[in-house]
Amino acid sequence: MRPVPPAHASAAPEHISVDHLRPDLTRALYQAMRTARDLDAEAVALQRQGVFPAYVSVRGQEAAQVASATALDPERDFVFPTYREMASALAYGVDMVGYMASHRALWHGGLYDVMASRFGAVNAVVGGPVPHAVGWAVGERLRGGDGVALSYFGDGASSEGDVHEAMNFAGVFGAPVVFFCQNNRWALSVPNERQVAGGSVAARAEGYGMPGAVVDGNDAGAVYEATAEAVARARSGGGPTLIEALTYRVEPHSTSDDPGRYREDTEAEHWRVHRDPVALLRAAVLAAGHADEADLAEADAEAAGRAEEIRDGVAGAPEPHGSELFTHVFRETTEELTRQHRTWQEEVEL
């Protein structure tokens, strides 16, 4: 569990193995990753059609997201996502029409029930939700529960003060948190070399007295095992862990981005072709004999169907009514707001 320097692209293997994992697990991972991949493609298409104002793709990060989320127990754990956790949400069992509604800009945080899903609202502040995970985990210990909080964040986010403060708090309180950094090598236009002093997010763990692990983020089995180990440690009172999953953002930062301005496409192309996590897992599942081509073809079809269903759901979801502007500001509303609601009715709703 000692941090090692990040081994990007060239150093990483072009095959993975899942021989050591349970077949039902590897099939489930494949199913979810495949569905996420298809849903991602649907989302990019919806953006092109003008249904989504913008979209942030998770393509290439399906293994990191799905395998980490799968290592959790949605009955007792809690996930704190950023804005790029679609595949995690899907694997964790979040209502995906409600989740994708955030990309259609129907409601900033999404339309799923955060507390029932045990999956926090989509959060656009880079680094901001990381201390929430620590607070949740401290609270979990205080009430004697054995739940674990998992906090997703990016390589760019690792620069934010909040992430440091959160890790230090987690260490001091021995909180059951898994800090899960998806290092996709880029923070918008800035590569790791100009973002992460020292070159390794996982190497920071030691400074907080917690275990740090670097894992191949495109190897679903490796991500699953590293996360499961961290979750088990946290659950049994062993405190926080920092996992850095090395992966790559093969798509633009968002549909509004123009990566040609700051990186060679060859790099992305290499990851797309040789390190695609879905293709790697597919080959490994077949090699391990956990499924045959026919099984996987069936899984693919099911994934495509599910993705379409979600796409149709979100594309057809009704827009929120304007009065909702006023509904959720407070639990106990104020006269002031009631007055403004009335103004809105008289002057805007007309």
Partner: protein
């Protein structure tokens, strides 16, 4: 124990409770004890609130009484303190964090504005934030830089927050109960300059709704509007003015968000004149909002524009200049004179 006595027979107007002599710092301490005792989900935390009892001793004895699971110190990081409060709330707790001084709320502003104030909205009511941030506030104690700031305009401008500033010990007790029991986030601004002033206090259960002001002195010639320590100063002004036959009403706004528009209008439509007093700098201070609300609601009744007596548009100064920065009795009296002569 105390809290049982305090609550005994405490109907909305439990005038039966015997008055006790308390400073505001003690009254807040009493309220925290009541809250910790009545609700096992209440947690008190922040920098040095445990063994030390806080730099103002407001949390004195709480850790001893309720244990270090309910009352605990955190590392020195304001943003994480407020971020932790969010996560605790999402796990069913009712967090009552303290930030040590007003000026050190700035490092936590992102969590307060972008997270605490919006989580209920972002989640459409799924994840409410019953967080009360206790913030020793305002100036008047000759403290170092960043220890005399007035952030109420910033908080009041932030949708999703409620903001309150008590002006005396009895108010502090009641308003803190009300704030912590509320399921919305409240910023509770304690006027440091009044921490040590002892008053006979009846500890009462809340009865006035959130967002109501109170008239602390009735008068007919003009209304002085203030909050926190400035209420006391306005009462002194009213005493002095009375010697000259000028009869001033003093309105303690106390809730700075939502602002009691009806209360303001009721008072000023009677007196026809208003002076608003605050410690924060003039420009874009909450006094502008008070003036705007009064003018919008009492335009026909106003004999002159609402006068603002505030701190100057300069950074809060060190000791010897503090008294010249803060609204003085003379400046308030001159403003009263201006409005009477308008």
């Amino acid at each position: 124990m105390t809290e049982l006595i305090e609550r005994a027979g405490a109907g909305p107007d439990a005038a039966g409770a015997p008055p006790v002599e308390l400073s505001m710092q003690q009254a807040v301490n009493r309220a925290l004890r009541t809250l910790l005792a009545e609700d096992p989900d209440v947690l008190v935390f922040g920098e040095d609130v445990g063994a030390l009892g806080g730099v103002f001793r407001v949390t004195d004895g709480l850790q001893r009484e309720f244990g270090d699971k309910r009352v605990f110190d955190t590392p020195l990081a304001e943003s994480a303190i407020m971020g932790m409060a969010v996560g605790l709330a999402m796990n069913g707790w009712r967090p009552v964090p303290e930030l040590q001084f007003d000026g050190f709320a700035y490092p936590a502003i992102d969590q307060i504005v972008n997270q605490v104030a919006r989580m209920n909205y972002r989640t459409r009511g799924s994840a409410p934030m019953p967080i009360t941030l206790r913030l020793p506030s305002f100036g008047g104690i000759q403290a170092p830089e960043h220890h005399g700031e007035s952030l109420e305009a910033l908080f009041a401008h932030t949708p999703g927050l409620k903001v309150v500033a008590p002006s005396d010990p009895a108010e502090a007790y009641t308003l803190l109960l009300q704030s912590v029991r509320s399921d919305d986030p409240v910023v509770f601004m304690e006027p440091k300059a009044r921490y040590w002033d002892r008053r006979p206090v009846r500890l009462r259960e809340p009865s006035d709704p959130i967002g109501t002001s109170r008239v602390v002195r009735e008068g007919s010639h003009a209304t002085l509007v203030a909050w926190g320590a400035m209420v006391h100063k306005c009462l002194q002004v009213a005493e002095l003015a009375a010697e000259d036959g000028v009869d001033l009403e003093v309105l303690d706004l106390r809730w700075l968000k939502p602002v009691d528009t009806a209360g303001l209008a009721a008072s000023v439509s009677r007196t026809g004149r208003a002076v608003v007093v605050h410690e924060a700098p003039l420009t874009a201070g909450l006094g502008a909002e008070v003036a705007a609300l009064v003018t919008e609601n009492c335009f026909r009744d106003l004999s002159g524009p609402v006068q603002r007596v505030t701190g100057f548009d300069v950074p809060y100064p060190a000791g010897p200049l503090e008294g010249q920065y803060l609204p003085t009795i003379d400046r308030i009296l001159l403003a009263v004179q201006r409005t009477l002569e308008y």
